[in-house]
């Protein structure tokens, strides 16, 4: 039986290897054919004219993710600190399951909510279609909240209580004690949470594709539409063929490399902590 267990344990290794092999085998030749600089830095994506430049999508993904971090991280950290240190027992029993539920809601439902609620609001405020980088950032900011709150909360809880007590004894208010004495000690844990959040935001597909506008051009303001790497794949994979299809797979390769970098960063930080 030990052999069966061993083989099962190796399935995840096999899976990662297979995923890498199939993605790279299909994507890398396409990149070579289009030309690496043409592909990564080309500013126009016009499959009909055989122009496959994904630079606008890379920029779109980075902008949208950055926006989500700007919106989601402060709210997430403050909420995590509140839950770890200031939340009354009764409220915690409601807030904790609520945040777990927020994590469990499918991304398609978030996308639907964004399309029906956030987009009209943005339309009223900024005019235009309402589908923009800002809309996507707001929704992604909400979507990464449970990830950041979960990790940051346990990071704050892991800080020894003596830090807090020592600071209180020196005359600081409890807020100051938490933010100036405990948060710096929980820095690496919180950072790990933020990186997980980045990973989730950059890989998010179905919610973003509905509300980001999907124009494959470089955005010139936060209210203009963008297209992310993930959206590019979902939008065109259905009808793509030949080089176009391979270019989309190559887009996934770029996304995959981004995720690998983020994962590596995450495990470096986690190992440093240990």
């Amino acid at each position: 039986m030990k052999g069966v267990f061993l083989i099962s344990a190796c399935v995840s290794v096999i899976a990662v290897v297979t995923i890498c092999v199939f993605l790279f085998a299909n994507g890398v030749p396409a990149i070579a054919k289009i030309g690496p600089s043409e592909f990564l830095l080309g500013k126009s994506w016009k499959p009909l004219e055989n122009k496959f430049g994904i630079f606008p999508m890379i920029v779109g993904s980075i902008y949208v993710t950055a926006g989500a971090i700007i919106i989601g991280v402060p709210v997430g950290i403050f909420c995590a600190v509140f839950m770890a240190k200031f939340c009354p027992q009764g409220l915690y029993k409601i807030l904790k399951p609520a945040i777990e539920l927020l994590a469990g809601i499918p991304s398609i439902v978030y996308g639907f909510f964004g399309l029906m609620v956030i987009v009209p609001v943005m339309q009223d405020i900024f005019g235009g279609s309402g589908k923009s980088m800002l809309t996507a950032s707001v929704l992604l900011g909400i979507m990464i909240l449970p990830t950041i709150i979960g990790v940051a909360e346990s990071a704050v809880r892991a800080v020894p209580e003596s830090y807090y007590e020592g600071s209180l004894a020196l005359g600081a208010t409890s807020e100051r004690s938490v933010f100036c004495a405990m948060l710096p000690a929980a820095k690496t844990g919180i950072m790990a949470g933020v990186i997980l959040g980045i990973g989730r935001a950059i890989g998010e597909t179905m919610a973003v594709v509905m509300i980001c506008g999907n124009q494959s051009v470089l955005p010139n303001s936060i209210t203009s539409g963008v297209r992310t790497l993930t959206a590019n794949i979902v939008l065109e994979m259905g009808y793509a063929a030949d080089l176009h299809r391979d270019a989309l797979i190559a887009t996934a390769v770029v996304l995959f490399v981004f995720i690998l970098i983020i994962n590596t960063l995450f495990s470096i930080i986690k190992n440093n902590k240990e």
Partner: protein, 310 residues
């Protein structure tokens, strides 16, 4: 700084004593912040953030319930019709497909995941290279976005193996996707079984295999179950990985190689067609209800474990 203002002594009236020595009135609490605006601002920011987080959930569920339940009633008989047509836009086939897809993926992923966790916890030597590699790959798997899984499934199953858009392509893709989740939760469940159980079993002369199956696994069942339920939640909510593997055909399949859309994909299809907003609302309610139910169930089981260990 005026220290007499900030040093708050509890007022010892009969009614306050009942609340305990640390009781403070709201006025006293506010007075603590006098001359310390930064603390007050931090406190307000925290309250604001918590309110935003809770508010988003209330807004989201509220919106979907308020819009969705009337939509469910409006389209009532048609939306649950057995066969999908472009007139009734029934979600019944999608619901059935979701159940089939869930069962198929679990059948593949759960045994493999549990066996892998058994190897990692019960058999592997501490600090062995292989274990390190397995852990890294499992972590990598859990970080891969679902659209990348979808494309991988498309390349491997649909194109290379020639399975076309099918139930089985989708199920295998999802099985790989939920594998790390099952491994991790099972590992945690196995680790939480006290070593004395194992020692007692060995002491009575049982082998390692018997110990694992008769002693360790049964005590770890609630933890494993909680993980499986979380995995079900992920499968039900998944759409990006299924569009290019299981396809979007809206009927109950007769073979494993038929295309089939799950409820999430159904909702995506309705939204991208843009004609059936009402029906999309209705399916959002059903989807949300399933997810909330799964969360409650998983929370309930987790609580049971907590009670047992006390």
């Amino acid at each position: 700084m005026d220290y007499t203002e900030t040093a708050v002594m509890p007022v010892k009236s009969a009614e306050n004593q009942a609340e305990g020595i640390n009781f403070r009135t709201w006025k006293q609490r506010l007075r603590e912040y006098k001359g310390r605006p930064s603390s007050l601002i931090l406190k307000l920011l925290m309250l604001f953030s918590a309110a935003v987080t809770a508010g988003v959930l209330v807004l989201l569920t509220g919106y979907i319930l308020i819009k969705g339940i009337p939509a469910l009633i409006e389209y009532f008989p048609g939306i649950f019709a057995w066969k999908y047509t472009s007139e009734n836009v029934s979600m019944t086939p999608a619901v059935i497909n979701t159940v089939i897809m869930t069962v198929l993926s679990l059948v593949m992923a759960v045994p493999v995941g549990i066996f892998a966790a058994i190897y990692l916890v019960e058999y592997a030597k501490r600090g062995s290279k292989l274990v390190k590699v397995i852990r890294i790959t499992a972590e990598t798997l859990s970080g891969i976005p679902s659209i990348v899984y979808g494309l991988f499934g498309y390349i491997l199953f649909v194109i290379t193996l020639g399975l076309s858009y099918s139930l089985i392509s989708g199920a295998v893709t999802l099985a790989v996707m939920i594998l790390p989740l099952i491994i991790r939760t099972t590992e945690e469940a196995l680790l939480s079984v006290p070593d004395s159980y194992r020692e007692g079993s060995f002491g009575l002369g049982a082998g390692r295999l018997r110990t694992v199956f008769r002693i360790v696994l049964p005590s770890a069942v609630p933890g494993i179950l909680a993980g499986v339920i979380l995995a079900i939640g992920r499968i039900v909510g998944e759409s990006a990985a299924l569009i290019f593997t299981a396809g979007t055909y809206a009927a109950v399949p007769t073979h494993l190689t038929d295309s089939a859309r799950t409820l999430s994909v159904h909702m995506y299809a309705l939204l991208s067609e843009g004609l059936y907003t009402g029906q999309a609302h209705a399916s959002a309610v059903v989807l949300l209800a399933v997810v909330v139910g799964i969360n409650l169930l998983s929370g309930f089981i987790a609580k049971k474990i907590g009670n047992k260990s006390c």
